[in-house]
Symmetry: D2
Subunit: 296 residues, 4 copies
Amino acid sequence: MTRAARADAAVHAPGTVVEVRDTPVPYQLASRAHHPADTLITIRPGVELGGRRVLLMGGPCAVESEAQLMAAAEATARAGGRVLRGGAYKPRTSPYSFQGLGAEGLRLLDLARRRYGLAIVTEAMDEEGLERVAEVADLIQIGARNMQNYSLLRAAGRLHKPVLLKRGPSATLEEWLLAGEYVLAGGNGQVALCERGIRTFAHETRNTLDLSCVPLLKALTHLPVVVDPSHATGSWPLVAPMARAAVAAGADGVLVEIHPDPEQALSDGPQSLSLPQFAELAASLPLIARAVGRHV
Amino acid sequence: MTRAARADAAVHAPGTVVEVRDTPVPYQLASRAHHPADTLITIRPGVELGGRRVLLMGGPCAVESEAQLMAAAEATARAGGRVLRGGAYKPRTSPYSFQGLGAEGLRLLDLARRRYGLAIVTEAMDEEGLERVAEVADLIQIGARNMQNYSLLRAAGRLHKPVLLKRGPSATLEEWLLAGEYVLAGGNGQVALCERGIRTFAHETRNTLDLSCVPLLKALTHLPVVVDPSHATGSWPLVAPMARAAVAAGADGVLVEIHPDPEQALSDGPQSLSLPQFAELAASLPLIARAVGRHV
Amino acid sequence: MTRAARADAAVHAPGTVVEVRDTPVPYQLASRAHHPADTLITIRPGVELGGRRVLLMGGPCAVESEAQLMAAAEATARAGGRVLRGGAYKPRTSPYSFQGLGAEGLRLLDLARRRYGLAIVTEAMDEEGLERVAEVADLIQIGARNMQNYSLLRAAGRLHKPVLLKRGPSATLEEWLLAGEYVLAGGNGQVALCERGIRTFAHETRNTLDLSCVPLLKALTHLPVVVDPSHATGSWPLVAPMARAAVAAGADGVLVEIHPDPEQALSDGPQSLSLPQFAELAASLPLIARAVGRHV
Amino acid sequence: MTRAARADAAVHAPGTVVEVRDTPVPYQLASRAHHPADTLITIRPGVELGGRRVLLMGGPCAVESEAQLMAAAEATARAGGRVLRGGAYKPRTSPYSFQGLGAEGLRLLDLARRRYGLAIVTEAMDEEGLERVAEVADLIQIGARNMQNYSLLRAAGRLHKPVLLKRGPSATLEEWLLAGEYVLAGGNGQVALCERGIRTFAHETRNTLDLSCVPLLKALTHLPVVVDPSHATGSWPLVAPMARAAVAAGADGVLVEIHPDPEQALSDGPQSLSLPQFAELAASLPLIARAVGRHV
């Protein structure tokens, strides 16, 4: 086999185990072979994911109040972020934890969007919620716990809104791409993938951020790839280095949790950057983006 | 607790589980608390690990021949690398695989050092080998499989040569630092740590590169941290993106496998960069180093 | 601390990491402290889960045809099994795989129940499906991929049918019990847990069967514990040894995939026992049950 | 493919990933194909491993004192155990932990052997220690941390004593068998394998006991398989259920940590059975052994 041929094999199937396969990959619409050019998702006019510009997304884990959300939105816009994150419906491990503000959270996200000109990304947890969320969100998040909730994926396939599909904590890339295939096969071609850490033995971080999935996904699929260093590490001092590493690895966007007062956050405070810390991170990204032929 | 105090707690113990501990960390000499300033290791005069300069190390997995090693050494020097890697004694999963050239490999490494002015890093597999390797190596590698070979670690503690301690594929940071503590406690303060991927369910790469360990180790210890993206990913197309991400994450050095003819390599060909690919990688690193306040 | 006190601590929190906690466990209704006696679930009159009798459940992965299901049902009944499994709605990794017979599958399950006097366990994938499934099923399975589908769990909490909650492939016991807590908190106290393998680096089996969770759950919770050795191993020659080990470890039931013609199965053939193999397994269980003070 | 042919393929390669391979397994002497009959190891006259009799091995983690060891030895013999375990040289994660009594520990093991007629299993940590340990031990343990210490394995291959090779915490079965192959290829055919838990995300036990490896190894290799439920779980209340499950799964022996006063143990107290608890466990094993056609 020539070096060129070997390179190709390795790009499309780099692990030793996968290399022995001669069967085609089981996803079709998601594969790079099916659609060689990068998919460019227009989240809202002027806000694109998947092009030369690396998209910066910030915001709180959960929408808690108008004051909290507006402060985060203002900081996001000021730092050059184009997308505001914030959960209105929160999937929580315990039924006794804060479950989000619900409809009131959506109202506040809509307000922030109009006030700061930001696109909105927020999570839908079920088919009924999908419709409500789609009225406000520019990008609909399907969370890690629901990555293989096929009824939800099928419903998302019938939408005309872009979807941000988070990786399940123990999903292989193939399973993740097949989950995306459920949405694509339903007729919705606007799917982006978000790595947010996988579950490993390494308990000194909340999850293990699998950054090598970024260049590997770029070989396997045409869909944009986003990295969430906040959920991946669970620890704010690690967020900025990992956001920088994500851009260096070729990510199309980074999704960062920020909070005007992390110590008082109702959820995920330990992994949230303060607003000045977020500004500092944002200032460090353009040079790294330039090193990989992109801009922020 | 104030934000400053919380920051400190999070830096030293970012995982949810670890945060509940109030006991001191079990390593002492390796801890940042014991030695607040970064340790700077002088591998050979003018070649330092742990300072502002990010150290680039390249070379083949195994020394195979004079021609192969000299070609790799020349390419390493030309790309700005200061350290040449190459295994003379190879720990191989199978007893029937190529086990390295042994003494002849050491002779060739010594020749490359004199010819190209590079420092040498190579592995010692046992106490007897440690003495032979120490005659040639400037930096002695203790491999991932031997990370908890305490007899070998104790012997390394009696040396007057720097040690590069690779992380075991399922070692926690605490176990890794305690392995380093065996060397430090023996009187050898020149220990660097090398992340080379951990073993997880994710079989689409050889291992999972755990880059978040870099900033976390920087908080926990004063020892320099190196990243080996070649063993971590097992796939050459992923090596350059991960090397760039490692520098962005704050690594003190990167260790990259290169080969003049990867298809003919006796070991680890699929994860070796060709010499032009290595030159291209090296050219992309300075801008990233600058973004994190360093140079190459 | 006395031996008795230490024993108690160890039973409720055996891992080294967990032992340092002094906070109460976050689940309440599911905890052994809340409800010291074992919960006994009456699946249908005379078919109980959680008592001295170990419940044997068999059946195909998916309902494929009347002939296939009736053959499996007859073999299950003949072997002493009391519950028939069979999927009508199948959550499949790929949208292009066989997705189950749907309503026709439910009709056939109902037929098998009446013909062979077996209780039926089958999966519901979403809230809408829950209602349809509940009309036929005696025990409603919530699958591993939906373990943290909180909308589905809440809907299950409003049912008056027992629920079999499979463990997510990377769920900790605490997360699993909290998922059960969603059902319990909704008012449905009839929840059983089913271990079906966790995702680890060990790729020589489909998943890694975590049998030590059985005695650990028995200490932590009053809910019955079932083991599915078929999905856990993915390989029929391992199913019988693991079913025996599950009973020896204290499981309240075992759930085994069987097929009249495994080579022709539309899903999971490689992990299905043939009908004679199932009979042989069933014959070996009573002696093991007796060794742990139970019967089959 | 006929059912018989498929069965064979599944036995020798049960995971989905492995099934695609058509290359022979990379180990030779260890493979069932090379040596179809079970290997029977005579540890000392009358004490065999690998036959119909399941071998019970007990003893403390570390030899601490004559009184402690003799009490454990007496309890082991009384419970029907034939082999006494006890560490004289202890590989400890921290250099500051108790490292074992060394030569004095070996002297006490020798004393216990003569006094109670038990065979001795104890660990050798390095090549120098191997010779000292071989003078006393009937079965030489190579610990999990040294599973891929090839210099030690090669030295063990030159011995005329049986070797108990523990599985590394993240070793695949193939890597483990290849480690055994190093010993076999050196000329020592008396190798037994010991499963002691693997490292997974599941932190509620010390490790995750992988019992499905027992029947899988029985298909792949002719070497005897032992299970250590103490290190696997790290929690004494889980030890007896897992020892029973191991026998039900087909293990050739179980290795159990016991201590006359677990609360005062210098190492691994939380996972040690008290002497009465061990007697109770031993009494429950014969019935399970009988269920799988064996005796204790």
